[in-house]
């Protein structure tokens, strides 16, 4: 009990806890669609693309999330546009954009002289250093993302499950796809300070992937993903505090451990408990 309550006396820890819950929620909600659409690689690419935006924001002395948002959203739109308009395989064009934008970030980063530990923390994440101003900005952004999903969850679900059927019956499937890419980009912006650019894809994918092993109902999947995402972020934050390790790594490791455990032992056909596949869906 002492271990749980003691850090709450520090305002910086309370801020980090709020950020962890926000990041766990938003990532898991958007990540549910990312997993069902197979967008994990795109999520990784958009995460890396946020880096030059963060560096430019640092150079211009504006909040990091503004720079990250511009860079991530424009890369998301570019990916959406290029993969539709060329005959190259999508993973090829994403790979090109992914490395190119990240290289731009490192190029700009290396032009800065002197102390840039602040900036380095965006690569690996440090949720314990989050400022009150940044936290308010992230809460607003996270609220907007959740509001968009609350408004469009069923249209996003239909166009994810059956894009042809949804388009034929009048849903704007192309625009919904762009919207989802923008939501992924903004989710990454909300998450980079907590887990860092390199690990952010894990926050998007791991909780929803764990939930997918346990249920075959969409609403339950999203609910379980949020529980795993928030739980993993909070437990990871405490581990980071008590063991004095990088918060991004500890959060992602907790979520990964949960995924591996469920993968091995879940009652619906875990790798170590293989049973009949035709069990009633849970």
């Amino acid at each position: 009990m002492e271990l749980i309550l003691e850090p709450l006396a520090y305002p910086f820890f309370v801020r980090a806890l709020v950020a962890a819950i926000l990041v766990g929620t938003v990532c898991s909600v958007v990540g549910t669609y990312v997993v069902l659409r197979g967008l994990a690689f795109i999520g990784d690419a958009i995460g890396h693309a946020a880096f030059p935006g963060v560096v430019i924001a640092f150079l211009l002395q504006v909040p990091f999330y503004l720079g990250a948002a511009v860079a991530a959203v424009s890369t998301a739109l570019a990916i959406g546009f290029v993969t539709r308009r060329t005959t190259l395989r999508p993973d090829t064009t994403i790979g090109v954009l992914f490395a190119g934008t990240f290289a731009l970030g490192i190029f700009l980063f290396s032009t800065i002289e002197g102390y840039v530990a602040d900036l380095f923390s965006f690569l690996v994440g440090n949720i314990l250093f989050i400022s009150i101003g940044d936290l308010v900005g992230l809460l607003i952004l996270g609220g907007l993302i959740l509001a968009a999903v609350a408004l469009l969850w069923k249209e996003l679900l239909y166009s994810t499950f059956d894009p042809l059927g949804a388009a034929a019956s009048g849903l704007p499937v192309g625009r919904l796809e762009y919207l989802l890419l923008i939501l992924v980009a903004l989710t990454i912006v909300v998450s980079v300070q907590a887990v860092g650019i390199i690990l952010v894809v894990a926050m998007l994918v791991t909780p929803a992937a764990t939930a997918q092993l346990l249920t075959s109902r969409f609403a339950r999947l999203m609910g379980m993903a949020v529980a795993f995402g928030v739980g993993g972020a909070v437990v990871g934050l405490y581990l980071s505090y008590w063991l004095d390790v990088a918060s991004g790594a500890s959060i992602v490791l907790v979520e990964t451990a949960l995924f591996v455990f469920v993968l091995a032992f879940n009652p619906r056909g875990g790798l170590l408990r293989r049973r009949r596949m035709l069990s009633p869906p849970g």
């Binding site: 408004l151 499950f161 042809l164 059927g165 949804a166 034929a168 019956s169 075959s216 999947l221 596949m277």
Partner: protein, 281 residues
Amino acid sequence: MTLATVDAAATLATVPTAVSLVDMAAGYHDRIALEDINLDVPVGSLLAIVGPNGAGKSTLLKVIAGLLPAWRGTVSVLGAPPGGAARRIAYVPQAELVDWHFPITVSGVVMMGRYPGLGLGRRPGRGDQEAVREALIGVGMLEHAERQIGALSGGQRRRVFLARAVAADAELFLLDEPVTGVDATTQQDIMDILATNAAAGRTIIATTHDLACAAQCFQRVVAVNRTIVADGPAEIALDPEMLARAYSGHLLMLDGNRVMLDDAHHHDESGAERHFHDDGG
């Protein structure tokens, strides 16, 4: 003009047209798939599109569904340009294009038919649930409403998507291979459901590989091979001359009336269907 032909013209004019294509051409990227397509489908039709692999059956269905733009010509669907009457159209993709592991139940899929009419931000209400229930009863799937779709047999999976079209209250059903890879009894059940819906004034257009099914269960057959090579009452599906034109190269003439069809794709799909069963059971 004699009186009789005036009468015939008047009778024709009273049946409204669901789909009208004039001199239509379409394709993908720079490859043309269909050209010189002229087709009129009256409301209440039960029409099969047949033809060999790559003949453009699915392409034709996609143009009518508004999923693929026509390169040339005029396309009118339910009195509107493509996409203009989308709320009144239900499109069912080929079973092999559906992710059967998707986390959704039978009633969840059928409810999707209600989504476009609900509008943004509105949750399905009591009326929508009632529509889903009635649609499931109509296809005999009510008892499976809460099962995950991957746990169903091939025929049950087709019925779920038919129920979605019914629940959407669509006037035009566009079905890509609805009876491919299901057994004869299931095929008959599905065709009975389609015939009932056609009799209720819905227009049904389905692609199929199964010529026997096209001849026995549909009212009209359109044979496609890059263009329309035959269009007439269902019996033409088994007419050797039509088959020779539509299936040139896939066909082995045995004697005057008997033919053998060498259609590899059809066998592949049956194989895939068995695989699904193994997967589910």
